[in-house]
């Protein structure tokens, strides 16, 4: 896995650069949805680990905290995609867990509730997908998570890491405009929307 330093790329911030292949951790208590999201992600050339609860997600990532990758020949988890409504630990609670600061989180929910979406985005969720999840939803997320930028190479955007590193929450609101700024700079045409869904 090729990792290039930010400095080499002319100061685009603190993020690491990773190759196209992303290891995604999918979290959903529904057996059917896990099967579907797994296929959707594999179809977008991602490596996938699917677990059925927040607890198992934490366990899986706990084994990963050593900078030593878990599974898939050393490919660290680059993205978490989690259902919102799960027993015991919701996707929101998973998001809030400080363990995930380094890894971007996308929330999925069958319920299109604006307050829920806003709360998740404010807490630093990368995006919010309304179920049922479509291939275009997954493609869109993987595309902007690994966007090309001027100077070549690819980067994985982590909104929460940027926010934390900048040390100033207020300058980065509303959260979802960050993505559009980067995309604009790269020459991509991309829409962001108020509810996280195009």
């Amino acid at each position: 896995m090729a990792v290039r330093r930010a400095e080499e790329m002319g100061g685009y911030g603190h993020s690491d650069f990773e190759t196209e292949e992303v290891h995604v951790l999918a979290v959903d208590d529904s057996l059917v949805d896990r099967k579907v999201i797994e296929r959707l992600l594999k179809n977008t050339s991602c490596k996938v680990t699917a677990v059925d609860s927040g607890r198992r997600a934490l366990q899986f990532l706990g084994l990963d905290d050593d900078k030593e990758a878990n599974g898939f020949n050393g490919l660290k988890v680059g993205l978490i995609i989690t259902d919102y409504s799960m027993p015991r630990m919701t996707g929101y609670e998973l998001l809030k867990s400080s363990v995930f600061r380094e890894i971007p989180v996308v929330i999925m929910s069958s319920e299109n509730i604006i307050t829920r979406i806003d709360r998740c985005l404010e807490e630093g969720a990368e995006d919010f997908i309304v179920k049922p999840v479509k291939l275009s939803d997954v493609k869109r997320i993987i595309d902007y998570m690994t966007a090309d930028f001027v100077g070549g190479g690819r980067r994985v955007i982590n909104k929460r890491k940027l926010r934390d590193d900048s040390g100033d929450r207020s300058s980065l609101s509303p959260p979802y405009t960050i993505i559009s700024i980067f995309i604009v700079n790269t020459g991509f045409s991309h829409q962001t929307s108020q509810n996280g869904k195009l």
């Binding site: 059917v32 949805d33 099967k35 296929r39 179920k131 049922p132 291939l135």
Partner: protein
Amino acid sequence: MERNPMRRQLQVMRKSLFDQGYLDEQFVQLEELQDDANPNFVEEVVTLYFRDSARLILNIEQALERKPFDFNKLDGYMHQFKGSSSSIGAKRVKAESTLFREYCKSGNGEGCMRTFQQLKKEYATLRKKLEAYFQVARQAGPMETACRPK
């Protein structure tokens, strides 16, 4: 135009499932995920759905036998059921689930029971139709592309 008569039959069955509102766009999403490496993906997901949701149907049935109704519990089960129904594109079943949840939220026990009976009918019909569909699909071999219903 399909030359193979089995594939033609399959297309007719498929079109009917969409035209009669049993399936929606999400089913097409599943079809688009099927390929040479995963030639039976749709059938696998649907089989998984019927197996998994049978448990929820049973739970709801049992919960409806206990009076007074625990509407929160009922709504919780139906939320899960609706979710997976939605994920496979089960349009009519999903609609009944939505209605059931509305009755739960308004505490209408009669409405819940009525809707649940209707839901079970739709669920059973869908199961029969999809079983028949996949039976033909297995005999017909792979279709060229998933096509969108008009």
